[in-house]
């Protein structure tokens, strides 16, 4: 199985620090929020019983699911971004560029309009189906064009197409439904439950195991398709497996957390500076930094303003755009 010797040395220390930071972040983030909860209360609840039913509810039904879903969602988005960037050889690749968010948006729009009273189940399911629908269309068109390099451009085109259908439906429909869809698209961890954590965590584990299995093949793509083929890699099959995997994990996250942009784009760029560009360290690093990042963004979302929660996607997009300007500034200085 996976030999951890591969990640020793300088990277080993970085990973050890990242694991400690992640664990500490999980604990600290559980104490932050509108209800005052101390470290002692959390310890008491985890090892014994909570001091009050109210505390029991806040810790077990709100804080823990929220922090854990934030962690695995961040892990999944960052890993999907890192893999997409490596397999498409495009540093700007992001899971959302497949039209996943607009596909999920269309699904959510239809669910809100058709089944307004069944939204706990119908909305995430419809969003998931919408996201997959968009991915299938993008793959289908790229296959027809016989050029997987056009995948991201096709994604952008399909994204606009599905977005315009959603906007048309919303324009003709109920303004209340419009508000709900827009709010959902901004991304939030307010309504997550432990069940969502299990589901997203399972998808993230499947993704990580597949990537660990295929890490050498993915590395080979970094020198181009021809070089990878000469090393015995079936490039088209590998690319299809990995793209489908990224789409599935992102669609699951989008279905329960809404649109959280820029994590998949931003985190791998930071991690490459820390641990290098090869797949194993990049994925482990992206999972840890991505998870940690989203946990803290959610802390900010629930504590920055009194009595109001900021949608998490607004914060990730704001940080992401500043990050990109910073990268451009740095490139200008060095290049």
């Amino acid at each position: 199985m996976i030999n951890l010797k591969a990640i020793k040395g300088k990277n080993g220390w970085i990973f050890a620090c990242l694991i400690i930071v992640t664990l500490v972040s999980i604990v600290i983030s559980m104490t932050v929020g509108p209800a005052k909860i101390s470290y002692g209360d959390i310890f008491q609840c985890v090892v014994n019983t909570c001091n009050s039913p109210m505390q029991d509810m806040v810790i077990w039904q709100i804080r823990i699911p929220r922090v854990l879903v934030g962690l695995v969602a961040g892990m999944g988005l960052a890993c999907a971004g890192a893999i997409l960037q490596n397999v498409t050889r495009n540093p700007l690749a992001d899971p959302y560029l497949f039209g996943i968010i607009s596909g999920a948006g269309l699904g959510a729009t239809i669910a809100i309009l058709i089944l307004p009273n069944q939204q706990t189940l119908a909305l995430p399911l419809a969003a998931f189906l919408g996201a997959l629908f968009s991915v299938v269309i993008v793959f289908g068109i790229a296959t027809l064009l016989r050029n997987m390099n056009h995948l991201l451009l096709t994604g952008v085109a399909v994204s606009f197409m599905l977005g315009s259908i959603s906007h048309f439906i919303l324009y003709l429909g109920d303004p209340f439904a419009t508000n709900r869809v827009i709010f959902w698209l901004m991304g939030s961890l307010t309504r997550v439950e432990m069940f969502h954590f299990y589901l997203i965590a399972a998808m993230v584990v499947i993704t990580l195991l597949t990537i660990f299995a295929l890490h050498r093949q993915i590395d080979a793509l970094l020198l181009g398709d021809e070089s990878a083929e000469s090393l015995g890699v079936n490039v088209n099959k590998l690319r299809l497996i990995l793209l489908a995997l990224c789409a599935a994990v992102t669609a699951t996250i989008v279905a329960y957390c809404g649109g959280i942009g820029f994590v998949g784009l931003m985190i791998p760029h930071i991690v490459r500076q820390l641990v290098g560009v090869t797949t194993m360290p990049l994925i482990i690093g992206s999972a840890l930094v991505g998870g940690c990042f989203l946990v803290w963004v959610d802390v900010l979302a629930r504590s920055a303003l009194d009595n109001v929660e900021i949608p998490i996607g607004i914060i990730t997009s704001a940080i992401g755009s500043i990050f990109f300007l910073a990268i451009m500034y740095r490139t200008r200085k060095t290049g």
């Binding site: 540093p91 000469s230 290098g276 194993m280």
Partner: protein, 273 residues
């Protein structure tokens, strides 16, 4: 003598246009074979058919006494190592990571590198004289150094045949000789496409001359570098003046007036259409 690679009546077409026509030749262990010919002669297409990267070719290719199509991709990668025209990496790959890719055909899923793999990588880098650069970024090396790193990757791949696609492209004269001297010193079987006929004469022991997908000549360097044949194939007057010091054939071409070039070009096109 047994042949490592045997090609019989190989043809390849794209959209009913013939790219390779009835090509037959053998490759024996220890050969250094150069594929020469003008642009569009089918040199790189021939290499891609050998690597099974072009799938719908016709004819017979036997590799290690087994038909090429019966080899699994990882088995092919254990026989052929390609040093080709790579796309420049978009991320900062280290030299060590590039050479490490050569381990791929021997590794199972999930497998990581053991001590022997690491020793092999360092040894390969030492052979190409770049052991000190293992932590440098591949992108920051010169063209010649990058080619040497790719040769080190091929050594880690432990392939029986080294396939080089225009290995001296974009290199200055010093690096052109350095790369080919290195290749020759490795003592393995080599098949390469090469534009510079005099370099080919220096380092190859056999040449395949291609023109419009046809194999015009398959023989020793001395016989293939025939001025009359080369004048016919390249469309410019060719002269031969052998290098007496190194006992190597040497050819040069003299330019002709532009109008005459156009006439000859049209005549050649007419012959092949």
């Amino acid at each position: 003598m047994s042949h490592l690679l045997s090609v019989g009546a190989l043809s390849w077409q794209v959209d009913k246009k013939s790219i390779l026509n009835d090509i037959s030749f053998d490759l024996t262990s220890g050969d250094i074979v150069g594929i020469i010919g003008p642009n569009g002669a089918g040199k790189t297409s021939l290499l891609k058919c050998l690597l099974n990267q072009h799938k719908n070719w016709q004819g017979e290719i036997t590799l290690n006494h087994k038909p090429l199509k019966q080899h699994k991709p990882h088995e092919l990668a254990q026989i052929f190592a390609l040093v080709g025209q790579n796309s420049p990496p978009i991320f900062d790959l280290k030299v060590y990571d590039v050479v490490r890719m050569g381990l791929l055909p021997y590794k199972a899923l999930f497998a990581s590198d053991n001590h022997r793999d690491k020793a092999d990588i360092i040894q390969a880098l030492e052979k190409v004289g770049l052991a000190d650069c293992k932590n440098q970024f591949f992108n920051t090396l010169s063209g010649g150094e990058q080619q040497r790193v790719l040769i080190a990757k091929a050594l880690v791949q432990k392939a029986k045949i080294l396939v080089l696609d225009e290995p001296t492209n974009h290199l200055d004269i010093f690096y052109q000789h350095q790369i080919l001297q290195l290749v020759k010193a490795l003592n393995i079987t080599v098949i390469m496409t090469i534009h510079d006929l005099n370099l080919a004469a220096h380092y190859c022991n056999r040449l395949l001359l291609l023109d419009h997908g046809n194999l015009i000549s398959n023989n020793s360097v001395d016989k293939v570098l025939n001025p009359e044949t080369l004048t016919q194939v390249f469309g410019l007057p060719c002269y031969r003046d052998d290098d007496q010091q190194n006992h190597v054939p040497r050819v040069y071409f003299s330019p002709m007036p532009a109008t005459q070039q156009v006439e000859l070009h049209n005549q050649k096109q007419g012959e092949h259409s």
